[in-house]
Amino acid sequence: MNETKDHVKLLQWFAIALFLQLLYLNVFKYVNILQDILVYGAYIKSLSYSRQVTPVKKYIVIAIVLALVSNIFSQQLLFYWSTVFIAGIDLLIIMEFGKILVSLEQRYNAHGPTARVIKKYVIIVFAVIVSWTMLSNLPRDWQIGLLMLGAFLLFAVNIRLFFHVLSLRKHVKKRSFVVTYL
């Protein structure tokens, strides 16, 4: 019973992290650091309800260090590297959470599309990351275009995952009520 509650909480905090990622606070200088701290804080809170061993914490530490470094030193090449690295680490974190989601789905017999959603998420974000590795050698207009397109795609896949996590949470919660009233 407690475990189910934990799972609901895990999904809830994961949904909060995804929601925070949807907000584009980057327009204000240094606010993106605050956003990162909130997002990663929500990830850590979410993980505290899971017993699985994951390297997510390690990834989060690296991502925060990178975000700080790229904000302190404004160097062009560093900007490209940190953009790709942070996007890559975010993807690795989502992949780890994907494993947890799939196991939860199996546990609660929710024949949902988690595996498919995560697979699509990984493919699209990977394509964005690969395209962003080439930013440094593109003309200005292409750079802006590619950054905007990438940001739009990341927004789209994040929102898809967000709604999926909400529906999974609902399902798990329902199961918990069934258990209560039986």
């Binding site: 030193f73 404004s74 160097q75 062009q76 090449l77 560093l78 490209y80 590297w81 790709v84 890559g88 690795l92 992949m95 990977f126 990351i129 690969v130 590795t133 080439m134 930013l135 440094s136 050698n137 593109l138 003309p139 200005r140 750079q143 802006i144």
Partner: protein
């Protein structure tokens, strides 16, 4: 003896003992592996150091370096082979680590994905660094000055796109000529990208920028007398300006009408219609440009001639077209070009500003080296 052997063969070995031996073998192989654990650590350190060195090189290349750092750098250009060497070293280490990781049972797709992204980043960074300038470059410029009044001197320079410095003044011996327009505010950001106010042209890795000065004849004469002319950047770094200034002294011109048009990247067509009869015996360019601007051919009455056909006699109302070429392009030109002869000069001012591309930046770089 043989009985003993037979009896030994009959003894049943318990299955648990067999398992034990297997466990023993596994344990032994693990312990053997333990002795090699230092390898991944060393590789991680090597990759970190190499990547760190790579970024450090790029920071040295950047324009935001302070004055002290730039004096250490002097004017030395780091060979692109070094960047590619470091990149290839890092890539081989990444491939080696990825292979080991896959062999040791890590997630194959994830490892390959990370390796691919790292390799792409390294390759792109090497390509990016290869195109960066150590210091801004000044485009070779030829300027013609009038004897009276104020003269404008326009000099274009090339900076890396992340170089936030700008030209503050022009220096020739003890003459310091401040830039003619307000430049203190250069922090112009468009869509998060730095875009200087004096940008003339945007290239993939560089900006072509504009510095404009005003001076009267006495100052220009001092500049002419000095050996080297420098542009001084906002952080006091001096960059050499290959200028050739000449004073317009051709007062005795044959009356004419003139038109000029550029012909492609490194040529120009000038046409004159004469308003009196005249004879010309040579192609005229200011002496400083003699080897840089060449007369390819000239056309009179739809007939083509070359400089071997001089002297040529022209009648009033006749049209002559000169086709000239710039030999050592790219350079910016503001000079009088035409024909000369016993009756006077037939000249017109030719303005030519190079439209840059990547390969031309490379040419200017080579010319400066």
């Amino acid at each position: 003896m043989s009985d003993l052997k037979k009896q030994m063969d009959h003894i049943d070995i318990p299955k648990s003992l067999h398992k034990r031996s297997l466990q023993g073998i596994e344990q032994a192989s693990k312990e053997q592996q333990k002795s090699q654990r230092w390898l991944p650590k060393i590789i991680t350190i090597a990759v970190t150091l190499a990547a760190g060195g790579f970024i450090a090189l790029s920071i040295e290349q950047g324009g935001t370096i302070n004055h002290q750092a730039s004096t250490f750098l002097i004017q030395e250009h780091i060979s692109p082979y070094i960047y590619w060497g470091i990149a290839i070293l890092c890539i081989s280490i990444i491939l080696f680590v990825a292979r080991r990781k896959i062999c040791s049972g890590s997630d194959k797709v994830k490892t390959l994905g990370v390796a691919a992204v790292l390799i792409l980043l390294l390759g792109n960074s090497a390509l990016f660094l290869q195109h960066q300038l150590v210091n801004p470059l000044v485009i070779p410029t030829s300027i013609e000055i009038n004897k009276d009044g104020q003269n404008g001197i326009e000099i274009r320079y090339i900076t890396n796109r992340n170089d936030h410095r700008y030209v503050k003044s022009l220096q020739a011996d003890d003459v310091i000529l401040p830039i003619a327009y307000f430049t203190s505010e250069q922090e112009n950001l468009i869509n998060g990208f730095y875009y200087p106010y004096d940008a003339y042209q945007v290239l993939r890795y560089q900006y072509i920028r504009d510095a404009y000065f005003q001076a009267d004849l006495s100052v220009i004469e001092k500049i002419l007398a000095s050996k080297d002319v420098y542009l001084i950047l906002s952080d006091e770094v001096k960059i050499k300006a290959p200028l050739s200034i000449n004073i317009n002294q051709n007062d005795n011109q044959v009356p004419h009408q003139s038109f000029s048009a550029s012909r492609g990247q490194d040529g120009h067509m000038i046409s004159f219609i004469l308003e009196q009869d005249a004879v010309f015996d040579a192609f005229y360019v200011p002496s400083l440009l003699e080897n840089q601007v060449i007369l390819i051919e000239f056309i009179v009455n739809n007939q083509q001639f070359t400089s071997k056909d001089f002297p040529i006699s022209l009648k009033k109302g006749q049209r002559i077209e000169l086709i000239i070429q710039y030999k050592d392009s790219p350079f910016d030109m503001n000079a009088s070009v035409g024909l000369s002869g016993p009756d006077g000069y037939l000249i017109t001012k030719v303005f030519s500003k190079v439209y840059f591309n990547e390969s031309m930046v490379k040419k200017v770089r080579e010319m400066n080296e």
